[in-house]
Symmetry: C2
Subunit: 359 residues, 2 copies
């Protein structure tokens, strides 16, 4: 059951993909450890500059000769509403005060044009550095980008949170689709609707997606161990993508406070919020989220809100205060461990073999 089209296409031993978590979590050590352990390590490059990407790819190549992947954000048009940014700053300034940060009353953010340019540069680097696998979030690459990447024999993955999105992912020429369930931590990969109140759980999402696409399905959301991998395969997936399980690993670059928070959290202590970035994402409930909750619908869009909260997230991290950090987590924190990547992957594989063996 563990060798299939996905492991063949990705040229990996185990159908385990490390989710490309953005924001410094996917250190070279993490990515290399996953690939060296037979899974697929992935760089969460959404926020990275082309130079940073090039540097990290080269660093990882010193650590592993196995395939690695990279994830990019597809830029979306957005409404840079000054009034919304002003209102958001009014909510954020009392938090800035608590962190000894100066108040802000302006809005600084990359323009859509800047984002498109950066994205084009990111793609150029990925091709030049010969990364064999590329996944996309928040949308789908254009036909010309897909054609270019295919010319370089890259394996492409898209992210979908509904059947409709999965069908679009297939139509766009992606080789496989990551079906992201409601359980997943971090940003929702939704690109056809931004709803927060009808997120579909994996038990429902995987079989319905699998019935409606012909490309392989990768399950993402709340999967932490062999039970989750075995269940995903029963439901019709061919591999899993795991974020939180790798985030708390020793090799991950997540802030220690973030790791500790997950290691001590319960399954019902996460929520989907737009308050950090302007896009819905699941994280542990903390004072930041609660303080923004009543005004969530009026917050600026991504990446404006993301730019507005940047100083707060950074200062909160530097001061080791979990109250104002984005503590992204899926819904299975009770299953998280602080262990080496190799231990995690080996235990998943041995558990799956036991699970199947017992039946």
């Amino acid at each position: 059951m563990l060798m299939n089209l996905v492991t063949n296409l990705l040229k990996i031993e185990h159908p385990i993909i490390q989710a490309p978590m953005a924001g410094g979590i996917t250190t070279s050590e993490l990515v290399a450890a996953v690939s060296n352990s037979g899974g697929l390590g992935m760089i969460g490059a959404g926020y990275m500059t082309p130079d940073q990407i090039r540097e990290q790819i080269r660093e990882i190549k010193q650590l592993t000769s196995k395939p690695i992947g990279i994830n990019l954000f597809v830029p979306n048009k957005f409404d840079a509403n000054e009034d919304k940014a002003k209102s958001a700053n009014q909510l954020l300034n009392p938090i800035r005060e608590k962190l000894n940060l100066p108040p802000k009353n302006h809005m600084e953010h990359p323009s859509f044009h800047d984002a498109l340019e950066k994205y084009a540069e990111q793609i150029k680097v990925v091709i030049e550095e010969k990364v064999p696998i590329c996944s996309f979030t928040f949308g789908l690459p254009s036909k010309s980008v897909v054609a270019e990447l295919k010319q370089h024999h890259m394996v492409l993955m898209g992210t979908a949170t509904t059947v409709k999105e999965a069908i679009e992912v297939e139509k766009s020429g992606m080789d496989m689709v990551v079906a992201q369930g409601s359980e997943a931590g971090g940003h929702r990969g939704s690109f056809m609707n931004d709803e927060q109140d009808n997120l579909v759980g994996l038990m429902s999402l995987i079989p319905q997606v699998a019935d409606n696409v012909t490309i392989p399905v990768i399950a993402a959301g709340g999967i932490m161990d062999g039970r989750g991998l075995a269940a995903s395969i029963c439901l019709g997936a061919q591999a899993v993508q795991m974020g939180t399980a790798f985030l708390t690993c020793i090799e991950s670059g997540a802030h220690q406070v973030h790791k500790e928070a997950i290691l001590h959290a319960f399954e019902d202590e996460t929520i989907v919020t737009r308050s950090f970035s302007g896009k819905p994402a699941r994280g542990l409930i903390n004072p930041f989220i609660l303080s923004m909750q009543d005004n969530e619908k009026d917050l600026p869009e991504f990446p404006v809100q993301n730019a507005l909260t940047q100083d707060i997230r950074k200062a909160s991290g530097l001061q080791n205060k979990k109250d104002y950090m984005s503590l992204w987590s899926g819904q299975s924190p009770r299953l998280s461990k602080n262990q080496r990547v190799k231990t995690l992957i080996e235990s998943i594989i041995s558990d799956v073999k036991n699970t199947i063996g017992k039946q």
Copy 2:
């Protein structure tokens, strides 16, 4: 894998339980067909009078000699706020007008005392009629009730939506716990918190519950076929409870309009709403839910709101208008079929055997 503690305790052939859907769905034909096919048929008796319960049990006994189960609602104290009821009626009257119903400006509902009395009578009937299995929703029976039912050798099940609730279910003396994931249609069984925005998906819920209780776990939510049963067992459950999959069966008493709506719905077209009953429940999005959405938090509690919307739901059904009916559904409507119960159960079992066989 398919014979285990749950099938032994319940004395059934297959680990498949038909969810005890209240409100006329669990006809005697449905319950008997499930039990006759080797699963456990259950009466959704929450809203039924003791006499109706007695009558239905006797009717089912004419149709099957296999074990059946019954579900009761544990009464909760509630706040019968006149102002809230008035505001709710103001929202409901325009809908009443569309259905040619007279406006209402008063509140009529059973008192907590009435509910307790009815519950005591329901239990008496269940014992007298020797129903071997009883499950509870919205709370847990008292120690004295548990002791009495145990004296009659009944197998007891509680419902939990979080690990904390599952631990309480075990502590209360229940023999097994139904872990209800966010995917589930109909009422949330939550009894320790009423949140709607941190519902836990089954991929996360089952293993975390299984790790924290010693009684067997039954998975509920979005499970429709052999893939869901196999996955649930991989995750640590010993059986599944399926609602929507049975609701669209030929033998179910659900309104034809309700069945048709599910048969044509997509996975992202459901939402959790308090608007019909005052308690959160998942159903297909329709004009009724949308019209109440902005005022959801201010609606009266269960059972006040349930009593207030009764005329509307009834008239909408009689007029075959799905716009104002409660179209309860889980998140897997694309997997629903209009078929005989026997066909459904046989296909689940054969699919599970294939799934496991292939691995």
